[in-house]
Every structure is written in C-alpha cells, then in structure tokens.
C-alpha cells in the first residue's frame, strides 16, 4: 500500500472495499442479466408468444417502421383485436393491471420483459395503446367500482377500444384553453363542441373527454373529465386528411351529446388535475421504442453507390451517421437506465422525457440527408429503385407530426426546463382571468 495511506486505509477499509468484494457487491455491479425470477418470467412469456403469435405476419410487421403499420391483406384493427383477445385469455393483456380489471398484477419490470418478448407483435397493439396507457389508468384512478369492473376488462381484452378527446382547434399546447362545453341538465350533462387530432376515433367504442363546465372561473379551474359512448347520438367523427396524405387522426363534433353524471371522472371542476394523472401515466408507459431512422439510414448508406464509392466510405457521410448513431444509442441506454430503476422498484426519473424530443428531430434530419444523397431522384415518391421505394420521402413527410403530437418540441423543452432543471414556469397572463374574459384573437 502507498506510504501516505492513512486516509486511504481509513476510507477504503471503512466501507467501500469490503462490500465491493463480497458476492453481493459483485452481483450488484452493472449487468444485463435477469434475476432468476425475471428469467423464469421471460421463459414463460417467450414460450407463450412462440405458441400463440400470428407468425404469418412476422415478416410484414418487422418491415413496417416509424410507427405506421400497414398490412397488405388485413385491417390492423381486426388482427390487433384477435391478438389482444388471445393475450387476454392467456393473461398477457395490460399485464401490470390488477387481475380483477383484466390484468395480471405484474411488476413494471415484468411488463418490460413482456414487451421485449412480444417483439414485433407488439405493433399489433397500436389501436389499444391510448386505452391502455391513458384512458384505462384514469378510469382506474377516478371511476366507480362498477365502472372499473364493467369497462376495464373489455378495454384490456381489446373488445372495446378507447380514444382520448383532449385537443381542440384552439387548444393544442394550451389544452386548458379548450372550449367544448358540458352543461348539467338533471342527472345528465349535455356536451357541445369540437375535438381534434383524435387518433382512432373512427373505430373507438368509448372516449375520455375533458370539457368546460364553468366558463366564469380561470381556465384550469372550470374543467371536468368524463367518459362517453362514442356511438352516442350527436357524436360525429370526421377523418382529417393530413399533410403527408394519410388519414390517421380525426375531428370529433359534439352536438347536444348526453352523458350521464355517473360517467364523470373526478369532481366537477377537477378535470385539469384528473388530466395530469392521465398524462403522467402516458409518461410512465415506457418501453415503447421510438423510431429514430438510424438503422434504415445505416443500411441505406451501406448500399448506396456514389461517384467515388460507397456512401458509407465518404467522410462527411460517416461523420453524420456516427453522430446519429451515438444519439440513438444514447436513447436506448437511457431507456435501459429507466428499466433498471423500475427493476429496483424506483419510479423512473424525468430523463425518459427526452426520447420523443431527440428522435423526432433526428427522423426529420435523417430523411432530409438521405434525400440529399439521392440527389435529383430524391424528389420521387413512388416505388423507385433509386429511392429504396421512397422510404425516406415518407419519413420526411411524416416526421413533422412526430415533433408535434403528444407535446411539441417546445412544450417538451419547457417540461425539461421547469420540472427537471427547476427553472421558473412561463409567465401566464391568463392564469387568474376568468375563462370567458380571455382574449381569443391576436388582432
């Protein structure tokens, strides 16, 4: 030992070395291994998926990226429902939910393991993700016992699909500024107004709706949460043609739609705090891998022949590709840190909130650069060989939505700045103003 080791010996001897060298110390070192219980659970899950998954769809599902699943022969809702039903029968649907509501009572880490084992078939659960991630947890937290037993098992098994009715044409990032009115008439509420960006509204059975019940108080205080039957008279769903030419979102119009008071979630005027529960659950639903475009770009550059050789041998290409790969790896390992915290029974920290912020911008940048490398042919969007069937063109046209849906880049930066770094909230000039006194036009 060093000669001047008085402090050294005192310090290491006291706590560090003895425990670091014990078996427990060695086991607590970084590793990617399952605990024996986790390994057993994984084995059970793997065998079940092996025996029950719709293997005929595997190749097609592996190919579809960027969260957009289009199957040649099938409707995603039909095959999704069939898969979800099988899962529910086998005890693998919404598995972190309590058993009495259709779940398995699994731990968060078991849920992550399940997602890993479910693999590409997890893409089939797309129609149910809003229900499982947001609507279900809100009903679980604020619904009556009757409502929970009636609705949650059917949501879990995919028999009934739920959508979320929050955003409005004049209330996007500022969702508390929403206008849709709900007025009390006896034991019922009567709803009038319009929602927008509602994914899956056209095939949903129920919807989670936030509406204004008191316009005379400041905007956050006059809101109430409900759920409603999407087949109720007065509900009209109109698909929106998006900038990328697809139709995935809807507008939903409400004309004198009647909702029984028993379908209210939380107290009258408490809708904002109920919605925060919903959104917090959305953040907790980790494990969903966000597309970054990096694997597609790596493959593209590995095969693209430029004038002087393969694109991947070009220094400028390599530099960009390496930076994107490092970012994408950073996201992956950030999610591993989250899973690790879950595994120890900790609540995931806010670091997981960076995923969409980073991947959305990256998708857009990668698409632009891939087309730059394609040169003049990059303008083509058909099934041309030069553009690898236009995959980056699709990426380019779709990527703006990644930077807006579920919180814009700017809102996410505000969240990081305020909730993680502790910076002051924005100055809100409408904070203490009654809702009906807030100006609605800029000029």
């Amino acid at each position: 030992m060093p000669t001047n080791s008085v402090e050294n010996e005192r310090w290491w001897a006291r706590f560090a070395l003895p425990t670091l060298r014990t078996e427990q110390g060695l086991r607590s070192a970084m590793n990617f291994d399952d605990t024996p219980q986790e390994a057993a659970f994984r084995e059970t899950a793997r065998k079940w998926v092996e025996a029950h998954a719709p293997k005929e769809l595997e190749a097609e599902l592996s190919k579809s990226s960027l969260g957009r699943i289009r199957l040649a022969q099938h409707d995603i809702v039909d095959v999704g429902k069939a898969w979800q039903k099988k899962k529910a029968e086998g005890g693998w649907a919404c598995l972190h939910w309590p058993r009495e509501y259709g779940g398995r009572g699994a731990t968060p880490i078991e849920r992550v393991i399940w997602q890993q084992e479910e693999g590409v078939y997890g893409k089939l659960t797309q129609p149910f993700q809003i229900g499982e991630g947001m609507c279900g947890p809100t009903v679980m937290a604020f619904g009556t016992e009757d409502a929970k037993r009636r609705y949650l098992p059917k949501l879990a098994s995919g028999e009934e699909i739920w959508c979320q009715l929050f955003s409005e044409p004049s209330a996007g990032s500022d969702v508390a500024g929403l206008r849709t009115r709900a007025e009390k008439k006896g034991d019922n509420w009567v709803v009038n107004g319009q929602k927008i960006w509602t994914s899956g509204a056209h095939y949903s059975d129920y919807g989670l709706l936030i509406a204004r019940t008191d316009p005379n108080v400041p905007k956050h205080k006059g809101l109430t949460m409900f759920f409603l039957d999407m087949k109720s008279p007065g509900v009209e769903v109109r698909p929106i043609k998006q900038a990328n030419g697809m139709q995935e979102f809807n507008e939903v119009y409400f004309t004198d739609v009647v909702i029984p008071d028993t379908q209210r979630l939380g107290a009258v005027g408490e809708g904002w705090s109920v919605s925060l529960t919903t959104l917090m659950n959305e953040r907790m639903s980790i494990g969903s891998r966000l597309a970054t475009g990096v694997p597609e770009m790596f493959e593209f550059c590995s095969n693209l022949m430029l004038e002087d050789g393969l694109a991947i041998d070009d220094p400028a290409v390599r530099s960009k590709l390496a930076s994107w790969a490092a970012k994408s790896n950073g996201l992956k390992y950030t999610s591993y840190r989250t899973i690790s915290a879950l595994s120890k029974g900790e609540r995931p920290g806010p670091e997981n909130s960076i995923g969409k912020l980073v991947s959305g911008m990256m998708l857009q940048d990668i698409a632009t650069y891939a087309m730059d490398l394609q040169g003049a042919a990059g303008v083509l969007t058909g099934s041309d060989e030069e553009t690898v069937q236009g995959q980056f063109q699709q990426m380019l046209l779709s990527s703006p939505s990644m930077r807006i849906a579920g919180g814009t880049d700017e809102i996410l930066r505000n969240i990081i700045a305020e909730r993680v770094l502790g910076l002051p909230g924005d100055i809100r000039v409408d904070k203490d103003v009654p809702y009906n006194k807030i100006p609605t036009k800029g000029r």
Binding site: S28, A326, G330, T334
Partner: protein, 375 residues
C-alpha cells in the same frame, strides 16, 4: 438487469465529490490556470491518500483493487471539479497501458508509484498534427534506442515516465509500431512546455535523442495495445466529460435563476430555458452512452470498441455544447476571466482532441458498426 452504479459506488462518488469540493475549489484550479504552479501537488497527494489514483490498480501492485466502474465514478468527479492534475495521463493512459502490456517487473516498478502519487506517467503518441494512426509515427526505435519528437504530450513537462509509441518496422502495417517505457528523468530526453487551450493541464514537446528505453509489450504489438488503451481511456475520459457537462449545465441553470433582466429571472425566458433544456438532453445522452461504456469496460466485453466510440462522441459533443452555452447564458460576464465559465470551455475543447478528434472517433464508430453488421 442493473444498468446503474451500486449503492457503494454512489457512496464513493459522494465521498469523491465532497473531497474535491474541499480540496479542488475553482480558486485552487486558478492557481494552475494562472501559471503559478504546473499542477496542484497538494491535491495530487490528497488523491493518492484517498486511494483514488490506484482505484483500478490491483492490490498486489499497491492499488485499492477495486475496478473500472469505481474509476469511472472518480473520473466523473474529476471532470466536474475541473481538477488541475495529471489524472487522465497517469491513470487512464499510462497505468492502463502497464496493466494491459506491462511485465511483472514493470508493473511492480511503476504501478505502486502511481497509486501512491509518487510517479506521474503519460502517453507520448502524437507527432504534430493529425489523429492516432500508425502512419503518423516517425519516432524510431533501434535496438531499444529512441530518436524523434513527440508533440503534444499531455502533462509531459511534469511526467516521470512515458509510454512511447515508436516505429520499429517499415512494412507500412500496424505491426511497424512498438511501445516503449521511458524514464523521463534519465538521459536523452529533452522536455519543453507548450502553451495550450487549457493551462490547467499542461502540454509538452519531448525530444528523444539516443534515449535508452525498454520495450512495453511484444515488438510489433504496439498499435494493438494502443487501440485497447485508447478505447479504455475513451470511456474514462467520457466520464470526465459527463462530469464537466453536468457542472457547466448547473452553472448556467444557477445563473439563469439569479440573474434578473427585463424585470424577471432570465431563466423564465423560453429562449434561455430551451437552451438549458437542450444542454440537459446532450448531457443525458452522454451519460447513458458512458454507462454502457463503463459496463463494457468493466466486463471486458466484446462490445467495448463500439461502446467506447459512442461514449466518446456523445460525451465530447455534450461537454462542448454545455460549456459553450454556459457562457451564452451568462452573457458578457461569461466572457470574463473572473467567471469560471471559460475554464470549462477550455477543458471541453482540449479534451475533445486529446485522444483523437471527434471525426476520428466518428470514423471508428462507423468501422466498428460495419464490422458488427457484417458479422
């Protein structure tokens, strides 16, 4: 899975942070910055006393016999404190080269001296401009006698010994390079200090003139040993860079909370908030990549080369980004010598070059990803 440091390792981190807060204040860093001392000798002794210099050195060679995860923890704190000591040259480069390739006698001679703070070591690799490459090595070794010039050599002016990369062949292949161990206090060595971006860590030019040296590792194995050393050092430096990024982010955040302009805290303006949020994103990506590097390093995994390159890229970008924007958040005050912002700016940009530049590591990452994909 456990992708986090253990409670003991976190306790070690707290201990190191407390120690450095006390012994390595910005005021202490400034003594070296202002050229009043070549490095902080008291701090160096204190680090030895705490056992930090030999954390990853086995007990039989005078170290604490912990491991690389523990060294990563210390590295992060060294970066956070901007410590003005030859830690990276001695511990990440010289000691690691000895651990990988040293004979028993060489290890016995130098490793205990490193752990006790008695010997400072470094790696003499570069010869002027360019990135690490067998082609850039012109210094010759003939029958164990070195002739040539190395520049820049980190901490070269205060080092007691150096691991020197020398040309021992002319086939144009990697096997032309061999490593040597040189006692810099012996004859045939001339050392000249060079001014550099980050005066808290010196750079030197070392001229070897008919200098006797003993081989480190087998002849012709130099480049393969260096590759391993650089991968390990990339992970360890990444932790320093992560520590520096976090500190720069904190400084910016604290200033944004204190400083009032236009009647409000400047941290209430979105232009400032978003700049800080982006710094947090960079620092988080760097931390996660570095954790993966730490895992690969500590388990000697086959993934180490790829993990090290990704950690290096991510941490280099994060530290440069955070240090640069920390000055921006501070406004004019950030551009004064008096404020500490420039110390991190200097360190970030010097560290970005020390083991080969960003583009060099980007190249390495792509090579390694291709190799993996091809396999």
């Amino acid at each position: 899975m456990n992708f986090d440091f253990s409670d003991d390792q976190k306790q070690l981190r707290d201990q190191a942070r407390k120690f450095l807060a006390e012994k390595c204040s910005p005021k202490a860093v400034r003594v070296v910055l202002d050229g009043k001392a070549p490095y902080d000798k008291e701090l160096w002794k204190g680090l030895a006393g705490m056992g930090f210099l030999g954390v990853a050195i086995p007990e039989e060679f005078g170290g604490a016999g912990a491991g690389h995860l523990e060294l990563c923890v210390i590295a992060e704190e060294m970066g956070r404190a901007n410590a003005p000591v030859p830690f990276s040259s001695t511990v990440y480069l010289a000691a690691e080269a000895l651990l990988i390739a040293g004979s028993d006698a060489q290890k016995k001679k130098w490793l205990p001296a490193i752990a006790s703070g008695e010997a400072i070591g470094t790696l003499a690799l570069f010869e002027g401009k360019g990135n690490p490459s067998p082609k850039t090595i012109k210094l010759t070794a003939t029958n164990g006698v070195l002739n040539g010039v190395k520049k820049p050599v980190a901490d070269g002016a205060i080092a007691d010994f150096a691991v020197v990369a020398a040309r021992t062949g002319s086939s144009g292949r990697e096997s032309d390079v061999s490593l040597f161990l040189v006692d810099l206090k012996a004859g045939g060595v001339e050392v000249k200090s060079l001014t550099n971006l980050d005066p808290t860590r010196g750079q030197a030019e070392i001229t070897f003139k008919d200098c006797k040296a003993e081989p480190l590792g087998a002849a012709g194995e130099g480049w393969s040993i260096l590759t391993q050393v650089l991968d390990r050092a990339a992970v360890l430096c990444a932790f320093e860079q992560v520590g520096g990024s976090d500190r720069a982010l904190e400084m910016g955040r604290d200033y944004a909370l204190d400083r009032i302009a236009f009647g409000r805290q400047i941290g209430s303006f979105q232009a400032v908030k978003h700049m800080l949020a982006d710094m947090y994103v960079s620092a988080t990506l760097a931390r996660s990549n570095s954790y993966y590097g730490a895992w690969a390093l500590s388990t000697n995994a086959a993934e180490l080369p790829e993990a090290a390159a990704a950690a290096r890229i991510s941490a280099t970008q994060a530290f440069q980004h955070c240090a640069k924007n920390n000055i921006q958040v501070h406004g004019g005050m950030g551009f004064t010598w008096e404020f500490d912002c420039h110390m991190y700016y200097r360190r970030a940009n010097a560290m970005a070059l020390g083991l080969g530049s960003l583009s060099y590591w980007e190249d390495r990452l792509i090579d390694r990803m291709r190799k993996k994909n091809a396999a």
